[in-house]
């Protein structure tokens, strides 16, 4: 997988405030990369530097494997903070300006407007749009150049539940087309649902990077239930790979050694003649993980 975006020791100070501190990120083709962090952790500042609107204090970054200038941004679809367009111009005219800037043909305008469901409103002025429509137009604009990589900064900010669901569906749809996406958000649930990889920023520093699946699903804890609770307890005592067990109501919550997955656990019970009526691998939530990372760092800081 080729690296589409890389930062080296990227730093931004606003006066004495360190907004971003020596950040190293690698984003490979095909990733849906979530950037997590509380407000003020440096997500938007980082993306601002990558997109040329904020001048880095030090460090560097490269798009598509080369140190490039604004030409690289023509091949990137990006939304930073809120949707920004000329309010007095129609959606179509606004996208024409984007086409002229990116030096691409205007032929895709109707297509992207259709993708986001704005084709019927294309001749209406941007200022008459609802927030959800504005956000969708921003996504249309980001799709205009058929980019290999998209940057989406808080794309569901300020939207109602329906709007959030629409945008999330749209992101999934785009990701399934094989596009690489960088999604900055403080909505952890959102990142967990659509991202493959993630990082956590806190006070401008990179606290953690990881893979969503590996980090959240390989927790090796299972929840199980069967006809006879006693039979299960006895079986658990016999299994050598059980790390801990705990009874929660009718259910058992067990932790196993790393090599064991749900299928193997089920097989082990079956061989003992026990049929489980319920078996689920306990997915840790990203929220839990995120808060733990932040707390650990706060503890270190103090």
């Amino acid at each position: 997988m080729s690296v589409l975006l890389e930062t080296q020791q990227l730093t931004k100070n606003f006066g004495r405030i360190r907004a971003v501190h020596e950040l190293n990120l690698h984003i490979a083709e095909g990733m849906v990369f979530g950037m997590l962090g509380p407000n003020g952790s440096g997500k938007t500042t980082t993306l601002g530097m990558l997109l040329g609107v904020t001048n880095p204090t030090s460090g560097s970054f490269s798009w598509f494997g080369e140190k490039t200038n604004h030409e690289a941004r023509k091949k990137v679809g990006a939304i930073l903070e809120r949707p920004i367009f000329y309010p007095y111009m129609s959606a179509r005219k606004n996208l024409e300006v984007v086409c002229l800037i990116k030096e691409i043909s205007k032929s895709r305008i109707d297509e992207v407007l259709k993708t986001v469901g704005l084709l019927e409103r294309k001749n209406d002025a941007f200022k008459t749009y609802s927030l959800g429509m504005k956000q969708r137009l921003a996504i249309a604009s980001a799709l205009l150049c058929d980019p290999r990589i998209m940057i989406l900064d808080e794309p569901t900010n300020g939207l109602d539940p329906q709007g959030i669901a629409d945008i999330r569906e749209l992101i999934r749809h785009i990701a399934s087309d094989g596009k690489t996406i960088v999604l900055a958000s403080h909505l952890l649930d959102e990142v967990q649902k659509v991202c493959t990889d993630f990082c956590v920023l806190g006070k401008g520093k990179l606290l953690y990077t990881g893979n969503v699946k590996r980090d959240l699903e390989s927790d090796h804890s299972f929840e199980l239930e069967g006809e006879s609770s006693d039979a299960i307890e006895n079986a658990l005592k016999d299994f050598p790979f059980i790390v801990s067990k705990e009874k929660a109501g009718e259910k058992w919550v067990v932790k196993t050694e790393e090599r064991i997955n749900a299928a193997e656990l089920n097989k082990a019970f079956f061989e003992k003649g026990i049929v489980l009526s319920h078996l689920s691998s306990g997915h840790k939530s990203l929220e839990e993980k995120f808060l733990r990372i932040l707390n650990e760092n706060n503890a270190q800081a103090t």
Binding site: G48, G52, V53, V76, L80, Y88, V97, I101, E103, S141
Partner: protein, 274 residues
């Protein structure tokens, strides 16, 4: 050339849909055309009102050599430089809007370099100045050919250098407005300060300086520098000795200003976080 076409088409796509641009354009054209027409009407009116007394002196208002080649270029350039403020408004609003709407930031995100963005505004300045100069040229030819007592080629083109001075005046004045807009960021504030500077601050300061015979100081004020390219026509018209050419020192000062103003704008756009 290709970049220039692309940047101008970006700029004019933004402008054509904007109401302020259409309003200012229409106002400017109306003002542009009404000046020579209105002036002729006033001259006729003065002549019919003055009656016998002035006739006896042999002075006829309609025969004032206002539209005569070759003075016409000087006269038109002098009058039309007062309309530059309309074009300055277009430049100011187009710049402050982009800062206010944050579309400058979005343009950069979409892949325009800061340099290209500023260039697109500079091309707008050049386009406006060139359009205005061409309009003066056409108007001068029409007015001159219909009213001038002398229409030899030599007479027509001998003072046409004032059109060049007019073009430089417009370019410098608009570049100055562009810098004001970049510095102040708000259209209302920029326009108010521009008007204050042009019509109150500079005239008063220059008046004081002149009174103390410090002309060499007053000459280097920026708006004055743009105006001195086209000297006062009234003494000349009234047959008093006045400047009938473009002062060389004014040209030099104008060029120095142009370099300074453009250099400073360039620096601001490069360095600022958007």
């Amino acid at each position: 050339m290709k970049t220039m076409r692309r940047l101008l088409s970006i700029e004019f796509t933004k402008l054509w849909s904007a109401r302020y641009f259409r309003v200012l354009l229409i106002l400017w054209i109306v003002a542009f055309l009404s000046i020579p027409i209105g002036f002729k009407i006033v001259l006729y009116w003065l002549e019919t009102q003055s009656g016998q007394s002035l006739d006896a002196l042999g002075l006829k208002f309609t025969q004032l050599p206002v539209f005569d080649f070759s003075e016409i270029w000087h006269n038109l350039a002098y009058v039309y430089k007062m309309l530059s403020i309309f074009m300055a408004f277009v430049v100011v609003v187009s710049v402050t809007n982009e800062i206010d709407y944050r579309t400058l930031r979005q343009n950069v995100i979409d892949g325009l370099s800061r340099k290209e963005w500023l260039l697109s505004k500079w091309y707008l300045v050049l386009a406006l100045a060139t359009a205005a100069t061409l309009l003066v040229l056409v108007l001068g030819l029409v007015a001159g050919l219909t009213s001038s007592t002398e229409v030899s080629l030599e007479a027509i083109f001998s003072n046409i250098g004032f059109l060049g001075a007019y073009w430089i005046h417009v370019v410098l004045f608009l570049m100055l407005s562009l810098l004001f807009a970049l510095l102040l960021r708000r259209s209302g504030l920029t326009i108010a300060l521009l008007i204050f500077w042009m019509y109150i601050f500079e005239p008063i300061t220059i008046g004081i300086l002149r009174y103390h015979e410090l002309d060499f100081v007053s000459n280097i004020f920026p708006v004055e520098a743009t105006h001195r390219l086209i000297p006062w026509v009234i003494p000349h018209l009234a047959m008093f000795p006045g400047l009938d050419h473009i002062p060389t020192d004014a040209l030099i000062i104008a060029f120095v200003y142009l370099v300074l103003v453009m250099g400073l704008s360039w620096r601001i756009v490069q360095k600022r976080d958007l």
